[in-house]
């Protein structure tokens, strides 16, 4: 999957592009876990503004990343979810598990709080 990466202070912003489905979820998960494992107490912000589709296997990849954070002390937040993905988060109850923000700045601020 095509993912843009940008260092932002002590955090990393990952921006996946396109669909996260059966074909792309494995590489998405691999990239996300690599970012969370890159050092001690990594902080990762996922820019979801270019994700227009997310199936169950994509959601599972996010849950795997969330569990990794619980074991290695890393932090993960998401921001700028598209309306469709926001609805999918609500229906699947992932909005109760993952920290989601409307915009980039508050998302990054939460990683340093």
């Amino acid at each position: 999957m095509n993912i843009e990466t940008e260092a932002q202070g002590d955090a990393v912003v990952l921006k996946p592009l396109g669909r996260i489905d059966q074909n792309t979820a494995p590489s998405f998960q691999e990239s996300l876990l690599a970012a969370l494992d890159a050092g001690k107490d990594c902080a990762v912000a996922l820019d979801m503004s270019a994700v227009d589709f997310l199936s169950s296997i994509g959601l599972r990849a996010l849950m795997v990343a969330h569990k990794r954070c619980q074991t290695n002390g890393a932090k993960l937040v998401l921001f700028a979810l598209t309306p469709v993905v926001r609805e999918v988060f609500s229906i699947s109850r992932f909005d109760l598990v993952l920290r989601c923000f409307d915009a980039r700045d508050p998302a990054l601020a939460s990683l340093t709080a």
Partner: protein, 321 residues
């Protein structure tokens, strides 16, 4: 074929407590304030057309029991949850003790919530009735024996007067029962469970409960897509949210509305029925999950694909195929 839901709850029977009855009454009375109803028919129309669904309905609280009416003189029933008691009572009212009937059961598995109705199934106590219990498990009789022996229940299994036969099935092998072709499929659940596909006269119903569909299990999904292929109705275990299913309740053996829609879309299923409802959820929550699933189906549907009709099971629901 016609399908009737006698029990739709997962895990444990539940009853509606008084405070929930009163909450429904409040909604109804507020909606009716200042209105005049000239007849019972006008009142019925008001209830049907103007009250919110959760105020005018209840999902009920019986555990899994589904009748598949194949238009045969023999009966076909999936699982023996607590809903079996009401089915049995209706049989006694319809036939009385003097007209023996044939009952064909198909067991998803032998966990308690799926067999607990059998000791309360009146036809089992009537000589002349034939009860055939189809199961893919190696020794289903042992579970029934354990349930109906001391100290669990006062009437021993061997004291039942009906002619009870355990019929061994194997996954993949088709049999014909009550005029329908029946095929079983192994499912992912503690101790194994099995789904059943019933086909007759070009119609098909799949009963698939207590089955966990892991999003990463691509091969498993392909097996189920083939099993569901072009089915008229799929009765699907959607007890948990996807978030629960892949975290806290992973490997608990149940699935989600998200997995239901994805598999049914891939298999070109016509009608999805959400089933095996979480016993902790009230009518309002289950209604919300139903509406959300309808929306998810809209969001995920490929352009040009025919819509998947999404319903939710409640005790007493009947669906004609």
């Amino acid at each position: 074929m016609r399908v009737k839901i006698w029990g739709c709850r997962g895990s444990l029977p539940v009853a509606m407590p008084t405070h929930r009855v009163r909450a429904k009454l409040q909604v109804a009375l507020k909606a009716a304030a200042g209105r005049k109803f000239d007849s019972d028919a006008a009142l019925e129309k008001f209830i049907a057309d103007e009250l919110p669904w959760p105020a005018s309905h209840s999902f009920g609280g019986n555990t899994s029991c589904v009748q598949i009416d194949t238009k045969s003189p023999e009966y076909v029933i999936c699982d023996m949850g607590s809903g079996l008691r009401e089915f049995g009572v209706s049989m006694m009212m319809a036939h009385g003790p003097a007209k023996p009937q044939i009952y064909n059961f198909f067991m998803s598995h032998l966990h308690w919530d799926h067999i607990m109705g059998f000791p309360f199934f009146p036809p089992a106590y009537i000589p002349g009735n034939k009860i055939r219990i189809h199961s893919c498990h190696p020794d289903p009789r042992a579970a029934f024996l354990r349930q109906q022996s001391a100290p669990c229940f006062p009437v021993h299994l061997d004291q039942l007067s009906a002619d009870i036969e355990f019929v061994a099935m194997r996954p993949g092998g088709a049999i014909t029962v009550a005029g329908a072709r029946v095929v079983a499929l192994l499912q992912n659940h503690e101790g194994d469970s099995y789904g059943y596909r019933f086909e007759k006269d070009g119609e098909s119903v799949v009963y698939t409960t207590d089955s966990e569909h892991k999003p990463e299990d691509v091969e498993g999904a392909a097996r189920f897509v083939e099993f569901f292929r072009d089915a008229g109705l799929v009765i699907f275990d959607a007890q948990y949210s996807l978030a629960e299913m892949v975290s806290l309740k992973e490997d608990w053996g149940h699935s989600s509305n998200i997995s239901a829609v994805e598999l049914c879309h891939q298999a070109y299923v016509k009608h999805l029925l959400l089933f095996h409802h979480e016993p902790a959820y009230d009518d309002t929550m289950l209604y919300q999950i139903w509406q959300e699933t309808i929306r998810y189906e809209e969001l995920m549907r490929d352009g040009g694909a025919p819509p998947l009709h999404v319903s939710t099971a409640y005790d007493g629901l009947e669906i004609d195929l």
